[in-house]
Amino acid sequence: MHSFGYRANAVVTFGVAILAVMCAMASLSVNFNSPSPTADVKVLNVNWFQKQPNGNDEVSLTMNISADLSSLFTWNTKQVFVFVAAEYETPQNAFNQGNNLKGKDYNLTLHWHIMPKTGKMFADKLVMTRYSLPEDYK
């Protein structure tokens, strides 16, 4: 407090420290309400289902995705990253590797990543089951 520069430095330092506390509290204020989105994915068409030269199968789907993600958006949400992933098992591999997928059952999973304005990023998913690939390549 002895000079102009001393007081200016004190205001800035204390101000920034309080800002850190405010951001922590803002982040905590939304941590405790868990989001509950709903989603419904319909596979409208299997566009193609082919065997690639390197042995893997390739599938192209047209989907109708309707989802209610409004509970993910709080005052501390900067953006939400959403994607749909397909998951399946084969006798050799537990998760998503392999070929010869004729007639295979698979799950479609809706993933979301909530990116906050301050604080921790949360990611979660919703699994939808009982989709099947066609019996033959086309």
Binding site: M1, H2, V11, F14, I18, A26
Partner: protein, 96 residues
Amino acid sequence: MMDWQGQKRAETLMQILLVVFAVAALGIGYTLASFQTMMLIYAGGVVLTALITVPNWPFFNRHHLKWLDPSEAEKHPKPQVNVPTTTKKKSSKNKQ
């Protein structure tokens, strides 16, 4: 120029103002669900606090320091200090 009382006042005022603005900003921002509102209120608060507590306002200089009166100082002269170092050097040269 701030006196000691004024410095204490400035520091306390700064701390109180910043905390009050932070609490107000958090409360209003949360109620309005607007992060930007919270930041703007707080930034405005920091600028206002700086304007109030950093410059040498006369309000902070009301309790003047009491310096010793010059006429009183003359009655108690400063003690003289002897310089013994030069005499010591001379005596060592004489010994040679």
